[in-house]
């Protein structure tokens, strides 16, 4: 189980932040603290202001009101490029430069802080290895010689190699097929666990949100509706906007989860905590209360938290 309670000073803090385009708010009165080391996922429907929020962190977009601080200092007091050198960025389609090799692409963020491509090579190579790309085979390839998943792995290496304090990712896996998406999700989870680099991750994919986030911010029409751990969101949605996203299956019962095959067999000696007639909200509560995050439903059918989240995510689609 990952550490969901990193109690440290906020690394990034939004205070009363607005971003308006011609009097139309893309983001309105945003107050948000992102702590060092957490895996923060911003989720919401299309046009809800996720990208706008993300890009205000590295000043690709400037807010029209309010303040944003990074490591305690207002963004506007820092040199833009110095700031950006501390913030990694992964774009949706990888955004690798077609005229540069994998090495040159990945070394770019180090070039930005004065490290030559030649000197960057060992670091790039070891990170490539870490994300599952054999350096000997991949260093000198061009982006068009890579699959979409491989391109995105290089995109991640490029963001990581300069050792930034935080990495921003805007729907990095949305263009990938389900298998590659799953692999890359595992990869970033792994990297996050190892390095504890702060990650701010934007997606509109519920499965992804629940799999990745240690904390989740839900956006709706420019407003940040709720920020909580995944299980809390499922259990206690603040309003209908949030519950719509997370509990669309309201009225569904535990039997639906069983029927869709989201259970394991075993633990026949425990007493069932929920019955198949109970609601999903009851199930979520039971999962929160359960010491091992798993509940016995029938004689030998167990629903774990992971299976439940997976079911919820898949029902979204």
């Amino acid at each position: 189980m990952r550490n969901t309670n990193v109690e440290t000073a906020p690394l990034i803090e939004f205070t009363h932040v607005d971003k308006a385009y011609q009097k139309q708010f893309a983001v309105h009165n945003l107050n948000l603290s992102i702590r060092a080391g957490e895996f923060f996922v911003l989720v919401g429907a299309s046009g809800s202001g996720k990208t706008t929020t993300l890009k205000m962190i590295n000043r690709l977009i400037e807010p029209t009101a309010g303040t944003i601080t990074f490591a305690g200092r207002p963004l506007v007091d820092q040199s833009v490029n110095d700031l950006r050198h501390q913030i990694g960025y992964v774009l949706q389609d990888g955004a690798l430069f077609p005229h540069l090799t994998v090495l040159e692409n990945a070394a770019m963020t180090l070039n930005a802080i004065g490290v030559s491509t030649k000197d960057a090579k060992p670091q790039v190579a070891s990170l490539l290895d870490e994300v599952g790309l054999d350096p000997a085979r991949y260093l000198n390839r061009y982006p068009k010689e890579l699959s979409g998943g491989e391109q995105q792995r290089v995109g991640i290496v490029r963001a990581l190699v300069a050792n930034p304090q935080v990495i921003l990712m805007d729907e990095p896996f949305s263009a990938l097929d389900p298998v590659s998406r799953k692999q890359l999700q595992d990869l970033v989870l792994n990297l996050h666990e190892k390095r504890q680099t702060t990650i701010v991750f934007v997606t509109h994919d519920m499965d992804e949100t629940l799999r990745l986030g240690t904390r989740i911010g839900v956006m709706h029409q420019g407003h940040l509706e709720q920020v909580d751990a995944p299980s809390v969101l499922l259990q206690k949605p603040k309003n209908s906007a949030v519950s719509k996203l997370f509990l669309q299956q309201h009225g569904h019962t535990v039997s639906d989860v069983i029927a869709h095959g989201y259970y394991e067999t075993g633990n026949g000696d425990e007493i069932p905590r929920v019955t198949v007639e109970q609601t999903l909200a009851d199930l979520a509560q039971a999962l929160l209360d359960a010491p091992n995050a798993a509940v016995l439903v029938n004689q030998n059918q167990v629903i774990t938290q992971a299976l439940y989240l997976e079911y919820m995510a898949n029902q979204q689609e």
Binding site: N58, L60, V80, N81, D82, L83, R84, H85, I87, Y89, L91, Q92, D93, A95, F97, P98, H99, L100, M108, T109, N111, A112, L168
Partner: protein, 506 residues
């Protein structure tokens, strides 16, 4: 084909020089255009409005006829290489600017966003990202410009800039298809070779490319600068001439005559100006001191006036006077020969019908067919007026390209053609020139047109040049033209031999 090879053998040196000049002109022009257009496109890439305006401007420049640009440039920068390069640079701007601008502005927005997000410097983004990504388009712009410029550079010959255009213009002038073809084929071949060369270069990295281009600019710039510097240093008297062998022969005579009296005077020749207006402008603007001009041209083109008579001496007097009154020039004494329109027939026809004059021809004209050059056919002072004056009624009259009419005559499709009285074809095809017994055609006598300032500085030049007064008969001029334009002898030698044989020089 054999004539092609013969020509290249005979004119090898001239051709090589012309090729070198042509390549030099083209490369320097494109290089300068790159130096202007690429930085400009970089400066404007983030200012779409200004960029649009600039696209329009370069597009408009492109639509200005090249002759107009050359004409406008002569009073400002003179003649020769400089105005030619300026005009070519102006033409090369558009494709290079347009492609560079498009290349720089049409880069995937995601890539630019990524580059921004990584906190890369402006220079890094320009040289490592924007320019390399735009490079294929920039290259194709340069290639388009180069092909365009190599084609347009043929116009440089109009203002004494040299190059392959000289061959093309001379070919047209002399009805010499071989010469014309050599010029055209070389220019086309150059365009193709450079286009392929550039395509090969486009595979080089940006660094190597910059090196190649840098070396090219330094080398060519140096060579041209040196040449221009040398010219500037020594020019004392500049003699120019229109396109063709005849003016070149005369220019060489002028030089020898002047240097006989004045051996220390540096005399520069600028042959092959394509166009009366340009050479006259150059004279007025003091880039040229002397050039041979015809009395008829003075009174019909330079200072148009109605001819008071068709008597050669009186026409010369009239031209002399108008030059004296209206310009800062002096029209020195004319030579003997006239180079004007005439009708000619082949010997067979002349013998058969006993033809000596145009009046003779008029009698038998209903039995004969004629072919005339397009201009001559349509002009009032050409065939249209002549027909009325002499009551000509040919069985059949065609207007055609200059060289074709001689072919038609050779093949006996026609018996009568128009000709210039000093046309070497008269000798080649053994034509009989019919006397204009009613004096219909205005006389065209050649004489040096000289800037007064030069005469004031070197009064003896007047005497030197007047040695040609009443010299050179039509048959002598035909003979000399034949040697230069058909036999490809050096104009300098032909001129020298003539002067020598009449003891005009020691």
């Amino acid at each position: 084909m054999t004539s092609f090879i013969n020509f290249i053998q005979a004119q090898g040196d001239t051709l090589r020089n012309a090729l070198f000049t042509h390549i030099g002109l083209s490369l320097v022009s494109v290089a300068l255009a790159m130096l202007i257009a690429i930085p400009l496109a970089i400066a404007l890439m983030n200012h779409p409005r200004l960029g649009e305006v600039m696209l329009q401007i370069t597009g408009v420049i492109q639509t200005i006829p090249s002759l107009a640009i050359l004409g406008l440039l002569i009073p400002i920068v003179g003649i020769g290489t400089v105005p030619a390069i300026i005009a070519l640079v102006l033409y090369a701007l558009m494709p290079i600017f347009q492609n560079t601008y498009a290349g720089l502005t049409q880069i995937d927005a995601n890539l630019l966003e990524a580059a921004d997000a990584f906190g890369l410097s402006w220079w890094y983004k320009l040289f490592k990202i924007r320019l390399p990504l735009a490079l294929p388009l920039i290259f194709s712009g340069i290639r388009i410009a180069l092909v365009l410029v190599i084609g347009t550079a043929t116009l440089a010959s109009l203002i004494g800039g040299g190059g392959l255009g000289t061959f093309i213009m001379q070919g047209i002038q002399n009805n010499n298809n071989t010469e014309l073809l050599v010029g055209a084929v070389c220019s086309a071949a150059l365009a193709i070779i450079f286009s392929i060369g550039l395509r090969l270069l486009s595979h080089l990295s940006l660094k190597k490319l910059a090196l190649v281009i840098g070396l090219l600019i330094v080398g060519l710039g140096g060579a041209f600068g040196f040449q221009a510097y040398q010219q500037q240093q020594h020019q004392e008297v500049v003699i120019a001439g229109k396109l063709g062998g005849e003016p070149e022969i005369l220019m060489n005579m002028y030089r020898e005559l002047i240097q006989q009296e004045n051996p220390k005077l540096k005399v520069t020749l600028k042959p092959n100006f394509g166009n009366t207006t340009f050479i006259f402008r150059a004279l007025q603007n003091k880039q040229v001191d002397i050039y041979p001009e015809f009395t008829g041209t003075v009174l019909q083109n330079l200072y148009p006036e109605k001819l008071k008579s068709h008597n050669p001496a009186q026409v010369y007097q009239q031209a002399h006077q108008v030059i004296q009154e209206k310009s800062d020039l002096t029209y020195l004494k004319p030579m003997a020969y006239e180079n004007r329109y005439a009708l000619a027939v082949d010997q067979q026809t002349a013998k058969r019908y006993h033809l000596k004059t145009v009046s003779d021809l008029a009698r038998v004209s209903p039995q004969l067919s004629a072919a005339f050059e397009n201009d001559f056919y349509h002009q009032q002072d050409g065939y249209q007026g002549l027909k009325r004056k002499y009551q000509l009624h040919f069985k059949n009259v065609k207007s055609m390209e200059p060289s074709l009419r001689y072919e038609a005559l050779k093949n006996h499709q026609v018996q009568v053609v128009d000709a210039y009285t000093t046309d070497p074809q008269i000798k080649v095809q053994k034509l009989v020139v019919l006397k204009d017994d009613l004096a219909f055609f205005p006389p065209y006598q050649g004489a040096p047109l000289v800037r007064n300032e030069l005469i004031k500085r070197h009064p003896e030049i007047q005497k030197s040049l007047n040695r040609l007064h009443n010299r050179i008969s039509e048959s002598e001029m035909i003979e000399m033209n034949y040697k230069v334009t058909v036999k490809h002898e050096k104009a300098q030698r032909v001129a020298h031999e003539y002067l020598k044989s009449y003891r005009l020089i020691r």
